[in-house]
Amino acid sequence: MKKLIALGLCTCMTAALLSGCGSANKYPNGKVYVYNWGEYIDPETLDMFEKETGIQVIYDEFDTNETMYPKVEAGASNYDVVCPSDYMIQKMIDNDLLQELNWDNIPNAKANIGAQYYEHSEAFDPGNRYAVPYCWGTVGILYNKTMVDEPVTSWSILWDEKYADSILMQDSVRDLFMVGLKSLGYSMNSTDEKELNEAKDLLIQQKPLVQAYVIDQVRDKMIGNEAALGVIYSGEAIFTQRENPDLEYVIPKEGTNVWIDSWVIPKNAENVENAEKFIDFMCRGDIALLNFDYITYSTPNTAAQALIEDDDIRNSKIAFPDLSQYDGLETFSYLGDDADALYNDLWKEIKSK
């Protein structure tokens, strides 16, 4: 036993040494603390940024908006640049956690990001004062052509008993209710109790048919032919199609959620100048292209879009749909604590049935 522990300790230390001691590189121009979704950036772009600017990037990741928020609010770690989603940005603005951007210091942002994305951003960032779009997309139905032989055009197909135990729904409050509300023709930002209860009842009705409520697992499960239909984010759809050519993605006719994840600068940021340099760098066409290739989530960067070589992808309806063709497209707004609490209570009711 003792020998084992001794050997173990030695191996540990060797492994630790091998995995590299701290970098003693000099970063003359300071640091920038970045807080982003997991796996949401091409690490090469960070290296390139560090080389070009001499600013060290301290990179941290979160998995949901809701786990990110308390950390920024508590101010225990001062992040300089964060990448929240639409409604969360609005919540942060309402709670005075963000600072207004100096657009003069981020020229690439105004130049390269398409105007339509700024228009959509007005839903959560009125006047476009706080946020620079980074990635965007839609939410739709991913279906397996070999398991579904009718045309998929409406959210209501997810209630079809034919597909019992073959339906995957999103395991998050707003996303789940979005499907319910949209299929009833209501706004996904509704705070009307009657409408919400109707949606809740509809979703409870659906529950026996649902195979699982998933977030990211929808990707692997659809690739593995586990289910016929799944609600998925457009960025994932491209990846799944590459792995399983039987999969198709469609935006239902009732409309859907057009989401945008944007860069913001928190009020308590300590390296504002470096933050601006970072955002500006990320808005460069070539950098945005690198990120798009890596993450497969749509980029709002028109300069990058022009650089895409593969015609199929550049014209892909999934990656870059013509939004004017669809009705009922909305972006999530922050609904306030009380409405949030109502949503949560109703969601718990659905989950506990």
Binding site: T67, D171, Q217, G224, N225, D340, D345, K348, E349, S352
Partner: protein, 270 residues
């Protein structure tokens, strides 16, 4: 070296890192968003959804604990009979899977249990019917048992190895057969280990949420899910703390049980 001084480091640690944080949880549990005193966070356990979640959690944890016990006890007995110098080897063989990341292991179970997963692929290869394994309460129990089995085996194994062989021999000499010996001697003497194992399985199983999300298809709402959501999704730390305080009742029950069954303080967990 004053004997009293010896306890100071740990007492300080307890106060700073266990009691004070606990007090904060209590503070959150007893207040609402405005800071006013309220009991509603604790009483919230009585709402239909929360209560159902608690009931199901208790039921599943209980079943998982019993299954663990039934699987672990014979295993511990077999291992206890092995040679002494393989003792550490055995302990490590059981701990080894725990060094693989918990999330990865649970996701690996998905690959095994899915409709088109490994198990069903093997079954269809043998022309046997597929099983609906994943996204069921059974899968959750399997996940719990898988994760907590080592915690049940090791304490029982430890207490079994401590039983003096002479006592067993004496019983045999006095005419008892194996079954008799087991129920009158072995089982009672191994009780501290069993209690220890039950504690280390039941209580953590009660608060798990990853297993029900990954293996249960997130269709079953466990109390662990509720608490996790209150802290991470809803941001209602008051409710989350209140509900956690209710769960702490189980900790208190455990302490009482230990005090009763373990008068000598022989709680040998590991």
């Amino acid at each position: 070296m004053n004997k009293k001084m010896l306890s100071l480091p740990y007492l300080f640690w307890c106060a700073a890192f266990i009691l004070i944080p606990l007090a904060m949880v209590f503070y959150y549990g007893f207040t609402d968003k405005t800071g006013a005193f309220t009991l509603e966070n604790i009483l919230a356990i009585a709402t239909p959804e929360h209560f159902k979640a608690l009931r199901i959690s208790i039921l599943l944890s209980l079943i998982a604990t019993v299954v663990c016990l039934l699987l672990a006890y014979p295993l511990a007995m077999i291992l206890a009979r092995m040679e002494v110098n393989t003792h550490s080897f055995i302990v490590l063989i059981f701990i080894l899977p725990m060094w693989m990341n918990f999330l990865l292991r649970t996701m690996a179970w998905q690959t095994l249990l899915e409709k088109n997963g490994v198990i069903n692929s093997v079954l269809s290869f043998l022309h046997l019917p597929s099983l609906n394994l994943i996204n069921t309460p059974g899968a959750i129990i399997l996940g719990m048992v898988y994760n907590f089995l080592p915690f049940m085996v090791l304490p029982i194994y430890n207490s079994l190895t401590k039983i003096d062989q002479n006592v067993i021999n004496a019983a045999r000499d006095l005419g008892a057969n194996s079954v008799h010996t087991f129920f009158k001697i072995t089982l009672p003497l191994s009780l501290p280990g069993v209690i220890s194992g039950i504690t280390m399985v039941f209580v953590p199983a009660l608060t798990t949420f990853v297993i029900s999300t990954l293996l249960g298809g997130s269709k079953i709402l466990l109390i662990g899910n509720v608490i996790e959501q209150e802290f991470t999704q809803t941001g209602n730390w008051h409710l989350g703390s209140g509900l956690s305080m209710v769960l702490m009742l189980f900790i208190i029950v455990n302490m009482i049980l230990s005090a009763i069954f373990d008068k000598e303080g022989e709680a040998n967990a590991l």
